[in-house]
Each structure stands twice: as structure tokens, then as C-alpha cells.
Subunit: 277 residues, 2 copies
Amino acid sequence: MGNVLSGKAPAEGVLQNAKKIAGKMMKKPHLAVVIVGHDPASELYVKKKLEKAESIGVRTTLRRIGENADEKELLDLVSQLNKDQDIDGFIVQSPIPKHMDYTKVVEKIDPKKDVDGWTSTNIGRMFLGISETFMPATPMGIMKLLDYYKVDIAGKDVTVIGRGNVVGKPIAFMMLQRDATVTICHSKTKDLASHTRNADIIIAAAGVPNLLKADMVKEGAYIVDVGTTRVGDKTVGDVDYPNVIKKAHCTPVPGGVGPMTVAMLISNVIEAALRRA
Amino acid sequence: MGNVLSGKAPAEGVLQNAKKIAGKMMKKPHLAVVIVGHDPASELYVKKKLEKAESIGVRTTLRRIGENADEKELLDLVSQLNKDQDIDGFIVQSPIPKHMDYTKVVEKIDPKKDVDGWTSTNIGRMFLGISETFMPATPMGIMKLLDYYKVDIAGKDVTVIGRGNVVGKPIAFMMLQRDATVTICHSKTKDLASHTRNADIIIAAAGVPNLLKADMVKEGAYIVDVGTTRVGDKTVGDVDYPNVIKKAHCTPVPGGVGPMTVAMLISNVIEAALRRA
């Protein structure tokens, strides 16, 4: 039987540390979140981020743009937030309506306020190992979670399933930087099991429910489930959890990576405020 | 017996195409190269780049900084080249003396003139798949070489040995973007052979002579040798070529990736000039 790698305790640790720092600052760190349209999952997720941030001592502002607004309106709001001396960091919650170009919008964010760590400048800095960057919250949260459970990373074989810009690619980098041997699989991989069966650590970020089954993982491996597929009113991961947990250590969904992501975002906001001060 | 994957013919193809475009431009594209100190290998390599560029119809300028100059002198030269309206692109040849910070110097280069593709902005854009970037010359040259020999990449298992910023990390990205399943190995990998034995394509960029031996590669695999270790007055690759070529297709050293790198650099200079026009 594997251990349940809950994100709750490590997230709480990150948040308590953030709270301590925020409490010592003369001006409260200030996070703004932009929502475009009315995606119900986004609404819920943003609400969670804002409530958690406030509870830590971070001021928050929610800015809304209508679903039918044109892209220019959103770009103008980004420029305004870039200039606003009171805002330390902000994010544009994805998804945004299809008639707007998300990459273009993100690229407009001042890298100093890009607390999601998604601008090309911050990604490039991460790649080069330059410290004045913001690391994307989810992959950074995964690293913190594994560190909390004292999982060795150096020299280990890590398989990442998924190659997205938000999780797959950056977590592959971070693992490399920590001396893991990294394999990146995705929908075009011809034999996924051949790449997971011997892995010491698996990061499942494909968004395909039940993709990773017990016969595809090694006894005692560490599995991080980043899948968040909405099935009815439930969020399900990529891992066949009830069977995988019998032989490997695994994060649950929900309650695994999710709380870590929120905690790391808040941590980035405080970092942004500290750098400006 | 495998095929010799010479870089000469594909490099010539890239260069002839570059020459055709350069010949149609009102103003010759202009490349500047900065050398700091007197590293003999660098001198030779830069000489080759400049001669080849001139032969294609690219104007070149060599700027020298003394070995004992301070970093500020180099940074000032970079600023000057950024502003110089006549220069379309430039590179600072590595290595530079140890008392200067190479990353800091590269980060000062205007991304629009960064024809080596090494600034964080251009790397971040590559990561995000934004087209207005310059791809680093060596990994781009590898892709072109494999395309020339009609090597399938989508769905193939590719193992990259080496995780440097110049070859290992960017080639891993480019392979991912072309739908390969990618494994990145390095000096801390516990069992290198287990990651190379089943690979369809291997990119060896470790800088360790004779690292990749025949029993570590699959029959009929494609091997690209990016190693350039100086042994006496010879440059040797990472592959045990005489034995590996008996069962797999392999680039020679020299005459494999080297000519491709020079060709891609020149191609980037022309691209830089076209974008400015």
C-alpha cells in the first residue's frame, strides 16, 4: 500500500510562511485577478484563490471583462494593471474567449508582475537558471510537495505525461535542474507504458481520466496527478487512483496538487511585492 | 552498415537558399561577431563563420575586446551594437574570460539582433511557440539535417544526452514540438544505456569522447553526434563512430553538425535583416 501524498499539509506550510512575511510588510502585497466572461469552473477557482490570499494578508482585486468584449479592451486593462503602482502582481485567469489570443495577452504582462510565470521573459529566465523570475505555480508546487515528502529527485528517472506550457514543459525543466533523468510523453507517444513502468517518479498532466493504471507503474513509485478533467460536477485526475495507490505513493484529486498551486501563486505575489520594495 | 549522415550537403542547401535571398536585398545583411581574448579554437571557429558568411553575401564585422578588459567594456560594446542601425545581428563568441558573466552579457543583447537565439526572451518565445524568435543555430541545424535525410520524428523515441542551454535543452524542445517522445539524460543519469538502447534517434551532446558505444544503440537508429572535445589538435565527438556506424546511421565529427551550425547562424542573420526591413 502506497502513501497518500496530500497537498494540504505542505500547502499550509507554504502559506504560513507567506503569512509571516506579509505580516511584516508596511504595505500589504496586492494581487489582481482578471476574469473574462463567466466560465463556472474559473469563477470557483478564482474565488478560492482570492479568499485564500486574503486570509494570508494579501489584498486582492477582481477585475471583470465581458465575454463579448474585444481583445483590445483586455489588452488595455493589462496595460493599466502594469502601470498601477498599487498592484504587485496579477494574472489573467484562463480560459479566455476564443476570439482573444491568450499568448498575446500574457506577453503584454510586465514580467515583474507576472506572478503566474507565463511570459516568455520569465520562462526564458527559468530555462537559463536566472533567479529574477517567477516560476509557474503548479510545477513549483509539485516540487515543493515532493520535497515535503522527502522524495529524492537527483539521479531518479522521472516520466512526465503531457507537454503543455503550464505544467508538462516547465516541470520537465525543474526536474532536470534537480538532476533527474526526464522523459516527456504525450498523446503521440507510441508506447506510454514502456516509459512509465520503470519510472521512479511520474507526473501525470495529460488531462485524460484513468490514463495511468496500476500495471503501468513500478511498486513504490511516486505519482503526482495533475489531471483536472470535469466529469459531471466532479474533478477527476489522470490516475486510476484506487488501484495505483495499492502499489505506489500518489497524490489525491482533489486535495493534491490543487492546494499547492494556490499556495505558490500567493507566494509569488509576496515575492513580487518584496522585489518592488 | 549504417549511413553516414554528412552535414555538408544539407548545409550547402541552406546556404544556397540564404545566398539567393541575400542577393535580392537592397542592403547586404550585416553580421558582427565579438571575440573576447584569444582562445585559439574560438579564433578558428569565428574565422570559418565570417568567411562563410561573406561567401554568401553577408557583410561581416569582427570586434575584439582584450582578455583583461573589464565586463563593463564588453557590455558597452553590446549596447553600441544594439544601437548600430547598420548591424542586423551579432553574437558574442563563447567562451569569454571567467571574470565576466556570460549570461549577463547575452541578456543585454537586443532580442531582435540575437542571432544565436540565446537571450531569455528568444528562448521563452521558442518555448511558447511564438514565431518571432531566433532558434539557436546548433539544435536548429540538427533538425534540418534530420529532415534532409528524411528521418521521421513524430511518435519516435528520442534520447538527448546532455542538458546544456546551447544544445541539450533546446533540441529537447524542438523534438517535442515535432511530436517525439523525448528523454533527457546527463552526467547524473543512473543507467544511460537503458535510455539509449531502445531510442529511435539519439542526440549526443555530452562532450565526453567515446561515451556512446555500439552496444548502447539499436540497429538502424539515427545518431547525431554534437560532441566537440579537443584532443590534441583534433576535435572528437561523443560517439564511438567506427563501431556505431556498423549498425546505426551516424553523423561524422567533423563534417556533421558543425557545417549545419554555421549555415543556420547565417540563415538567422538574413532573417534578422528581413524582419528589420
